[in-house]
């Protein structure tokens, strides 16, 4: 083996700094697909958002004048309300998710036996792969307004149709998806923390809570921040969860886009909301890459 590595032999293609012909051929189908059914539609969307909306007409005319009217229309209290609702519930779910995921990830890495660890990771992977639709329906069935928990809620004096409860239910739906994602993300973070640091602090007399607060949490901070932002971007772009659990009373940005398409057929306005949503997601994700210096894929 060592004789082989000693020979300064690299793959021939990597010797050329420009794109080789084989490389180009391999890339071509993917790039073509991305260009035609991803880049062009997004450009079209940006263009549509600048077109004038003619009531009663489905979509804009090709020669419609360009205008910023669709964006100006978004600076209204009702749209601000949707934006506020989306952010409030997403942030609440992401924070709660982090609070639940961190101890869970810690136990999986440090406390559990190999068998418990495998079972727990298996369950979490299944929950990540679980259909969003099944998740939403199961939560509705268990905690919804006609669900199994209804007698319990009524006994506790909680009205299952109150706005407060419906908001909580949407938050719970987001949480159900966020906890497995965050836990799996944090496993790596915790694995990279040297457990001897915490042990040392404890054997020198620090109680466990103090040792964790002073050592584990600060060391895991970058991982925690990026897990939070990942959860946040997931929640902001959630569609099925607010649509089904929110019953039309809790609207997210994504639901607004669908309504502009299906109910009022105001395509230019829907396009403007889409662009706003896209910008928000991009901002959140650029924060993620700021927090975590880029590493090579999978390293």
């Amino acid at each position: 083996m060592s004789a082989v590595t000693a020979i300064p032999l690299r793959k021939p293609a990597s010797a050329v700094p420009a794109l080789g012909r084989t490389t180009l051929l391999l890339l071509a189908p993917g790039l073509l697909l991305l260009f035609v059914i991803f880049a062009l539609p997004l450009l079209g969307l940006a263009l549509e958002s600048l077109k004038q909306y003619v009531p009663g007409r489905v979509g804009s005319a090709t020669d419609a004048p360009l205008t910023l009217e669709n964006y100006r229309e978004l600076a209204t209290p009702s749209f601000a309300g949707v934006l506020y609702e989306t952010f409030k519930l997403s942030a609440a779910a992401a924070l709660t998710g982090l609070l639940a995921a961190f101890p869970l990830a810690y136990c999986i890495v440090r406390r559990f036996s190999p068998r418990q660890r495998a079972a727990c990771i298996g369950l979490l992977v299944m929950l990540v792969l679980l259909s969003m639709l099944v998740r939403t329906y199961a939560l509705e069935l268990a905690f919804g307004s006609v669900g199994i928990a209804r007698p319990l809620l009524l006994a506790l004096g909680i009205s299952p149709t109150s706005r407060w409860y419906i908001e909580t239910l949407v938050g719970a739906g987001l949480l159900h998806a966020i906890v497995p994602i965050c836990t799996l993300t944090l496993l790596g973070t915790i694995q990279n923390i040297d457990p001897r640091l915490c042990d040392a602090a404890q054997s020198l007399g620090a109680p466990a809570w103090k040792a964790h607060l002073g050592i584990t949490v600060p060391l895991a901070l970058p991982g925690l921040v990026s897990a939070f932002l990942i959860a946040m971007t997931f929640a902001i772009s959630a569609f099925v969860i607010p649509m089904v659990l929110g019953k039309g009373r809790v609207l997210f940005l994504s639901n607004t886009i669908y309504t502009r398409f299906s109910d009022v057929a105001n395509y230019p306005s829907g396009a403007a909301v889409s662009i706003v949503m896209l910008v928000i997601s991009l901002l959140a994700l650029s924060l993620v890459s700021l927090v975590r210096p880029r590493k090579g894929a999978g390293s």
């Binding site: 590595t5 490389t23 990771i121 259909s131 993300t185 466990a208 990942i230 099925v240 894929a297 999978g298």
Partner: protein, 277 residues
């Protein structure tokens, strides 16, 4: 702080942690168990647990519904076609991106992963506008386009991760021993990245089978996927037929998990870059 107080606070913390974990796991699992139980409920209304008698009536009703059969057929066709296209195109792209450093490599990599950072609803709406402008109104083609866009990044990412993680000396050894580059690829590299391809394919299939946000925009009156049909039905009425459908969909997830565990193993799965943003 003296020893007794420390021991007590440690005990309290440990107890609180276990209680919290139990609560979290209960929150994650209970709704799914409730759904499974109610899907076999013999009552015709939604009553308190546990069901007094079990039956398969909701499953019988489910298979008798026209929209379920139509939706399921479309969903499966789309998911299989999407996965095949993704694995072919995505693996080719990942192999190209792995072939050493050329100018613009980082940019290309970002381009291939970029559909993941655009919200699905935005992709669905943009595709709807674009495809109707160029005159494609056929539901099946539109759905296929949408599903390929949102799932391709999974395959590119997982295959790229397994390419980066492989032992390059094996390929080099084959080349030194006289294999041509394509021989080395088919006999050495491809078997080494199989786990990445399987993971990517499973995720692509699962995402395609479950998508609502993109598909809602791209269906036509006769071509719709199962999740879209179920969501519309869920909003219209609330009966336990959907619980039966949910149980079947959970079985599909479980099956996919088994495939992953069998061909990849969870430990390696975590190293494949799926859960790192």
């Amino acid at each position: 702080m003296n020893g007794t107080a420390k021991r007590r606070s440690d005990q309290v913390l440990g107890g609180a942690m276990i209680a919290m974990l139990a609560l979290v796991l209960a929150f994650l699992v209970t709704p799914l168990l409730v759904t499974c139980l109610l899907a076999f409920d013999a009552r015709s209304f939604l009553g308190p647990l546990p069901p007094p008698a079990l039956s398969l009536r909701w499953f019988e009703k489910l298979v008798s519904l026209d929209y379920v059969a139509t939706g399921l057929a479309t969903s499966l066709k789309i998911a299989v076609l999407t996965t095949v296209i993704d694995v072919l195109v995505g693996t080719a792209a990942a192999v190209a991106l792995d072939r050493g450093s050329f100018r613009g490599r980082g940019l290309l990599m970002a381009a291939f992963l970029s559909p993941l950072i655009v919200p699905a609803v935005v992709i669905g709406f943009a595709l709807l506008l674009f495809l109707s402008r160029i005159g494609i109104v056929d539901g099946f083609t539109r759905l296929l386009c949408g599903h390929v866009v949102i799932t391709l990044p999974y395959v590119v990412r997982t295959v790229l991760a397994s390419l980066t993680g492989r032992d390059r000396r094996l390929t080099e050894a084959a080349l030194v021993l006289g294999a041509t580059e394509s021989q080395a690829f088919w006999t050495i590299t491809l078997p080494l990245i199989r786990s990445g391809m399987v993971t990517g394919a499973v995720f692509a299939f699962a995402v395609s089978l479950d998508d609502v946000a993109v598909s809602m925009f791209l269906t036509d009156p006769t071509t719709y996927t199962l999740p879209v049909a179920l969501v519309s039905n869920m909003r219209a009425s609330f009966d336990l037929t959907i619980a039966a459908a949910a149980v079947l969909l959970m079985a599909v997830s479980a099956l996919l998990i088994l495939v992953l565990e069998r061909f990849v193993g969870f430990d390696r799965l975590l190293g494949q870059g799926l859960f790192r943003s």
